[in-house]
């Protein structure tokens, strides 16, 4: 096991689109265990995506237990993940290991259903909500070269949405 080094913005490699994983072999398992160790060693310690360590493959790891205790799925290794469904929208403040010292407000779906393969290539499906859903969406963005900086919204967004709604009646 090894802690891999994290790319930080502005590094153009963070903006590449990652390729699907095709070989579920020993090399993948070793990489996933290194990526997991790197995640736990990080400042947030709850999520990581392979492109953050200069490995442009569609691999995401999330483990919200440090933050949510047992009220979550625990360690999720999501390989070639796809969002099947989402609902609700919520504004929350996010930070990222690849964007040190900055946090900003981002809108994410409140509940999601995600389908992925595990490290052995078996199909898995998870329903997530709240912080866990936010983490999965944040990490999956890395697979398409997006950072939370690409999704920043104003502090005022939640206030204005209500106001515009009232005006449009």
């Amino acid at each position: 096991m090894a802690v891999l080094s994290i790319l930080t913005y502005p590094d153009a490699r963070l903006q590449r689109k990652a390729e699907p994983v095709q070989a579920f072999d020993d090399a993948l398992q070793k990489f996933v265990s290194d990526l997991t160790e790197t995640m736990y060693a990080g400042p947030g310690g709850v999520g990581i995506a392979a492109p953050q360590v200069d490995h442009p493959q569609r691999i995401v790891i999330v483990d919200m237990r440090p933050k949510l205790g047992e009220d979550c799925h625990g360690l999720m290794v999501l390989i070639n993940p796809e969002l099947l469904a989402w609902e609700g929208m919520v504004v929350g403040r996010e930070g990222c290991m690849s964007v040190p010292d900055f946090t900003g407000n981002v809108i994410r779906a409140e509940r999601i259903q995600v389908q992925a393969q595990d490290v052995f290539g078996r199909e898995r499906s998870y329903e997530c909500e709240g912080f866990e859903a936010r983490a999965v969406q944040h990490e999956m963005d890395h697979l398409d070269g997006f950072l939370f900086l690409d999704r920043l919204v104003s502090r005022k967004t939640d206030l204005f949405r209500r106001k515009n709604y009232q005006k449009s009646r």
Binding site: G44, V46, I48, C96, T103, R134, A135, R155, K156, L159
Partner: protein
Amino acid sequence: MSQALLTVIGEDRPGIVAAVTQALFTADCSIGDASMMRLGGYFTIMQVIDYSRDLGSVEMALDPAIKRLNLRVHLDPISSVAVAADLPNTRVTVYGADHPGIVAGVTGALAAIGFNVIDLESESSGSAERPLYVMVIQGYAPDGIESVRQAVLPLREKEGVEVGVHPLEAAVF
């Protein structure tokens, strides 16, 4: 590099930000934290600038924009105070029928528990007959969110406003 706090006020119209920031750029200033927004019919800018020459040359660079757009400008040299490290951990939202004393009542209760206001935005809206006041405060509560609830929730009755207290947590992924 020296720092100054630049304040700009003018009747709102397109081009104020562009004119001010272009002038600062030509005067070799760089812009740090900034708040630029319309308040009433006025556009307001408050921003920290780093300047390499003297303040007089910054003023001279701004002068054409000031005259053209009829702006009022104020420049305060500031010593480089270390950036405060406390991040907001609580959001307090207040809304209700507008009347004098809402802000004083809420912020007085917050000050009493050592709450540091980091960001306060408010708007008067609604119709003239039924004015509505909306305020969103973000700040740091040293004793946690429960102390904020106890401090401000009694104001629902006292001021006749809706008060919400929400945790603000930055999740680092």
